[in-house]
Symmetry: D2
Subunit: 360 residues, 4 copies
Amino acid sequence: MKAILVRPPKEGVEIKDVKQEEVQNFGKIKIRTLYNGICGTDREIVNGKITFSLSNKNFLVLGHEAIGVVEEGYGNFKEGDLVMPINRRGCGKCLNCLLGRPDFCETGEFVEAGINGMDGFMREYWFDDSRYLVKIPKQIEDIGILAQPLADIEKSVEEIINTQKRVPSWTCDDGTYNCRKVLILGSGPVGMLFSLIFRTIGFEVWISNRREPNEIEQTVIEETESNFFNSSSGMEKINQKFDVIIDATGADASILDKVFPLLKRNGVLGLFGFPISGSFGVDFRSIQEMVLSNKVIIGLVNGQKPHYQQAVTHLASWKTLYPKTSTLLITRTVPITDENQVINVLREKQEKEIKIRIAW
Amino acid sequence: MKAILVRPPKEGVEIKDVKQEEVQNFGKIKIRTLYNGICGTDREIVNGKITFSLSNKNFLVLGHEAIGVVEEGYGNFKEGDLVMPINRRGCGKCLNCLLGRPDFCETGEFVEAGINGMDGFMREYWFDDSRYLVKIPKQIEDIGILAQPLADIEKSVEEIINTQKRVPSWTCDDGTYNCRKVLILGSGPVGMLFSLIFRTIGFEVWISNRREPNEIEQTVIEETESNFFNSSSGMEKINQKFDVIIDATGADASILDKVFPLLKRNGVLGLFGFPISGSFGVDFRSIQEMVLSNKVIIGLVNGQKPHYQQAVTHLASWKTLYPKTSTLLITRTVPITDENQVINVLREKQEKEIKIRIAW
Amino acid sequence: MKAILVRPPKEGVEIKDVKQEEVQNFGKIKIRTLYNGICGTDREIVNGKITFSLSNKNFLVLGHEAIGVVEEGYGNFKEGDLVMPINRRGCGKCLNCLLGRPDFCETGEFVEAGINGMDGFMREYWFDDSRYLVKIPKQIEDIGILAQPLADIEKSVEEIINTQKRVPSWTCDDGTYNCRKVLILGSGPVGMLFSLIFRTIGFEVWISNRREPNEIEQTVIEETESNFFNSSSGMEKINQKFDVIIDATGADASILDKVFPLLKRNGVLGLFGFPISGSFGVDFRSIQEMVLSNKVIIGLVNGQKPHYQQAVTHLASWKTLYPKTSTLLITRTVPITDENQVINVLREKQEKEIKIRIAW
Amino acid sequence: MKAILVRPPKEGVEIKDVKQEEVQNFGKIKIRTLYNGICGTDREIVNGKITFSLSNKNFLVLGHEAIGVVEEGYGNFKEGDLVMPINRRGCGKCLNCLLGRPDFCETGEFVEAGINGMDGFMREYWFDDSRYLVKIPKQIEDIGILAQPLADIEKSVEEIINTQKRVPSWTCDDGTYNCRKVLILGSGPVGMLFSLIFRTIGFEVWISNRREPNEIEQTVIEETESNFFNSSSGMEKINQKFDVIIDATGADASILDKVFPLLKRNGVLGLFGFPISGSFGVDFRSIQEMVLSNKVIIGLVNGQKPHYQQAVTHLASWKTLYPKTSTLLITRTVPITDENQVINVLREKQEKEIKIRIAW
């Protein structure tokens, strides 16, 4: 069958025919791939920027975002069902992995499909186990590929809400989060999805970037009644404070110096983006302020099965409530038959891209 | 303006003109009524079965389910917004009411619109405060009236999930609730809405009634992949046990004797329906079993603003995922101009009714 | 070695010599028994009232409460350390047992030392695993045997507190539980220990029995600033309501009919005692009341290692704060050499007994 | 009456006679002071290092740690009861303050006795309200003054435990915290009290300082079975990782650079000490690590009434379990009649001081 292969740590990507015995499979349920989503991590692998271990082979099947159709069912999964695989799989040893939550793996010995230690899903078909599959209703087939990146963000928001249970009352005087404000740094796909979830649970949402919003961003912001802040002339000009600040930039870490003073008492700075340079300098006065005002800085990573399921519910609700937004989030579909284009989108971020998918 | 009035404890209902000074208002935002929902409580008031106090008047405006359109806005609520009022309002004294959660009022001195101590919303317009209003997106105007009864059920399911946090792990080995089973007694609107929420959070759902499902029920069950059990030849024939059992019948309490043995270890029997006769006999062996297996019986009542907002998200998601179901749940719309019909539906439950609404 | 044996379901008890190969052991750490506590369950086994399975033998070593001294150490447990074994051990299958919490075992396939499926600790020595051992500081050797029954009650109170997290605020306006009241039915050892924990976490405590308090009870009540209510002329005469009611009687279940109306809004009826007759009749009006006021009835059973450790802290604190009480709780120590007396206290409850222990 | 006065922002301290009308009082219960504790904050005020607002007077009564005896009782507080006042009092506006938890005040408009906006307790007597008083049992009168600093640490540990509820299982496979390790930076009174609480809840405890332990520290470490690490030749030589790291130094912030790499996956860095110089540089690689491993940095401050009550229980338990330690923690008692000494201990930290108290 056809598959998209990488040979890390060497850069490069190939579309090739492989035999079933050459690639890993994980269960009894046969799934034919319909779509793969492409994200920044795929491109870092293709461009040789991520180093990682392979499993007894000289290549790895790329791809951690996929929707497929069941061809040979088992248990609750029947022929014709649409499914999405969960990409991180547990160490089998620590309690969190036994609880189905390798996002909190304590040993670090988990594997990640198409990324580390496990073949991915950019191939014609694979076999999987029901434990690692989530049903994607046909009604959201068009936007379903977003459930994978969205799951990571569902987990992150859940973790922030859980962390804030340390505060005797973090809900407002009407029992909601309507008095809470979040500032999201970065208006890429991650920033957009954070903004959608925080709007859904009732927050006032501010998205910031160092430029004016583009057309897509403008549409999303209007439809979801969010706010955009152009920080090019100084973050402090936003002139208000926030209960939650999310770093969804993956840019230079020094941006955090500028936003930390914008955090309210009992506030949370959530780190989701993966900075690739710079340093966040927390001087003694900022530490005093953290102590006196119960502030938290928290690292946020990886959603698991409950978050994929919640992502499905949210996508379905946004299709009703934000029809323009949900259409705009899939910016392009490239057929696997057009190999040049596939290679191209796997190599380089495209103009105004939110989510690009490959159709098999 | 026109209003639907009752004069409890006398039975009866009238459509009459009242002056604005004669009826209570609660804030600055003027709302013109679009729809009222009708529920069993309204009929019990009309038929003189519920006794309660009035507030310095010889009548009460009926109606605790409403959607209206803002005519004079204030704060976040603008002209043209669709809104739903929250029907129970706090005592202003206890901590739970100060936290916006009169569903857990400790004094019992809360009021309920159209039911107890406060004029309801079956009238041309009313004035309200933003604290008690929830926005209803135009995209779900058609089914939005369900948000009020649904909020009560959102709260109930949330309370059950909260209660089960006493169990070290109540989620399954994949982190979800997919291994958990719920039995819902009663297939009326309450049973249906419970079933929809439990499906949404991943439970296997069984709905039971003492007959075969009717056509609407059959459609909902198929679309939501739930199960129906006809208990007419004995509840025990269901031949399996459940993690949660919900009484949504409001029938004779003795039904609980029959279902209690079907509860698994660490299980919860949730009481939502309002039985009007009979007794639930928990004999010493059942108590031993409760003790040995950590079982819980819990009373469930009233959703508040966070639950209304969650209901909106769920309704929007069901409109995408369960298009037939969401249409079928509104079984009839009666125009206020057809006064005979309005009086009729307020007096008597209709054949195959799920939710009937009055359109203004 | 000497051991106390039972042969259920036959009644009777013997002190006999057994060989090490004839009895079960559970690990590498050798422990010489210092004390065994005696409780009602032991007597029900001795008197043939509890039926249960044995493990491939025609006898069972009795005893689930013990303190011993380590003779051959391993890991953190050194020669000379005082230890207490945990009596219930998990099924090895369900998530709660994997989390060290067989008190919430989902399969029911746990075993209990000296009770069901596993030899107990009324013997000269046994071998055990560190996972099942709790250190008993020498400073509380005199009252340490209480840690086992106390652990069950620590778990129960923890579970009630966890269950009440469903209430937005169940703490008072000073952040404590000082405004909460508990009624404890029964003034035996279980009732006394419940009262001590509830006092420790700040509750106002009422203990009730159908007679005046005896001298020991009077001392405990005075020292701990609790209250006693003689219910012989009617429970309702107590003339106040409670946030928590605990059944610690193990008497006829019909007592619950009388106390249920004493429960406040959002209140919890905790079932700990094991009734042996009668029925608790929850009529439809009581169910309506449960629904309208968010009431809970909950079964409470078995403490595990975290609760044993908390019991040690509490016993140490009470030794300082309630010196009379902590002395009085151990009502008698019988030497194993006095076999007649040992058999006698194993057969029959003694006058004014709180906790009797056997000294080896 | 005699009182100890400061006139911030001017440095200096005086023992003077003041009239009752000149100083603030807070309720109906008259309390005669028995002891005041002295802490670093008092010395920073005396030495002019803390700037703050006064309330319409040209002086402030110093002192936020006190035990007194009730002379005129009210409600639950009777003549002769020993009591401790809570030092921080709420803003009266935000929900957390209404819930009795000004440690999480959202407005920042709380006051602190003897520190900011409210007269303290270094005076012969004061009047207070039951809401702000905690009973100190006579059995711990000798060490009771520790309940005030201990309350802050009780709150901090509780907040860490609450924050870790974000982890699906943070307890070990025996349900306890026995597999968890904490590193406490600093072996002063704060470090010692943190170590005592973490030992009590089952952690393995490491205390570090840049020197060998002194005699008192050595005794505490042995009695509580903790560990001491001399970090003078490099923090990394400790050669192990920790689930929790607490900064209890109040030294230069750069120490955090050295300990942050010692934090395990899902770990928490708790900031309690108040650094007065330096900077904690979180470079992009550390942020990546925080993201990938769910790490948290959290500011910890101020205990409230529930924490004072828990502190009383813990002090009582330590008096039994750690008799040497609990005696050693009060390093000196200075009579108020010896004014020179009082002034001296208020100005300068003493050799090997843990807690010094003034006796009235």
